[in-house]
């Protein structure tokens, strides 16, 4: 059984989520720039959110999955604020944001 790719089938949303997750994982694995790694994390969080909302829509029909998606978006905002503040602090200390340059814990 090979389902098609259409807006009223669950599998198409899961495929979009899977591809988005893999691209985010590739970004996190290969980038040496701390900001790019954070961008990959955002892609992964978005793909998880697509799965939450898709299962909520095709499954029980209540809004529990949407609540979880909103909580994930909220945590992503907090993570971006703290993460980028750390990146700026690392840049002031090492004058570089390569994750390989910042391997010492103290100055």
């Amino acid at each position: 059984m090979t389902p098609g790719f259409s807006p009223n089938e669950l599998s198409s949303y899961l495929m979009i989520g899977a591809v988005l997750f893999s691209l985010g994982l590739f970004t996190v694995l290969t980038r040496r720039n701390a900001i790019s790694v954070l961008m990959g994390v955002e892609l992964i969080l978005n793909s998880a959110n697509i799965n939450y909302v898709a299962f909520s829509h095709f499954g029980s029909g209540n809004a529990d999955g949407q609540i979880y998606a909103i909580f994930v978006i909220m945590l992503a905002a907090a993570e971006a604020a703290v993460g980028l503040a750390i990146v700026l602090a690392i840049f002031q200390l090492f004058h570089s944001i390569d994750v390989e340059a910042a391997e010492a814990l103290k100055e």
Binding site: V19, F26, H57, I67
Partner: protein, 166 residues
């Protein structure tokens, strides 16, 4: 093919294409700006799933907040007039093999599983349902979320300010 199917294909293509630019571009400015396409495309997918409130939240917080924050960080940490490669990547081949096998397994699992068919859904505004759930079943996580946001805000201010040396 109806209009809504065509729009769905377009939204999916924009989402995946922008995410590919984020993953493969050699310039971090291009990566940061194509995140806009991904976030907007994901908001469009939420609209197809009948989640209007989540789509609005996605646009407000991701496009209006996180993306602007990322662009600020890029501009503050790079001399963007430099022509050198600003977005170094390492170990691409190994990562490509690992991620390729991984996405193949995920897609096969999605294709093989017999998923439930969509019911006849009526598209109603989901705001009322979400509000009821937030103030009823999810009250404690909702209050904890405000604490987490306050802690994150204070933490970001403390980490990013300059130390004043006496």
């Amino acid at each position: 093919m109806t209009v809504s199917t065509a729009v769905f294909y377009l939204v999916a293509a924009i989402t995946i294409g922008s995410a590919m630019i984020v993953a493969f571009s050699r310039n971090i400015i291009y990566s940061a700006f194509s995140l806009l396409g991904t976030f907007a495309g994901v908001a469009g997918i939420y609209v197809f799933l009948g989640a209007d409130f989540v789509a609005a939240v996605q646009l407000l917080i991701y496009v209006g907040g996180i993306l602007v924050l990322i662009l600020f960080a890029v501009m503050l940490t790079h001399r963007i007039t430099d022509v050198e490669i600003t977005n170094r990547a390492a170990g691409r081949l190994a990562a490509l093999i690992v991620v390729g096998v991984f996405v193949y397994l995920l897609l096969q699992a999605v294709r093989e599983t017999p998923w439930a068919k969509a019911k006849d859904v009526v598209y109603l505004a989901s705001t009322g349902k979400i509000g009821d759930l937030f103030l009823d079943a999810y009250l404690l996580p909702f209050e904890l979320a405000s604490l987490v946001l306050l802690a994150a805000m204070i933490g970001a201010v403390v980490i990013s300010r300059k130390e004043i040396k006496e």
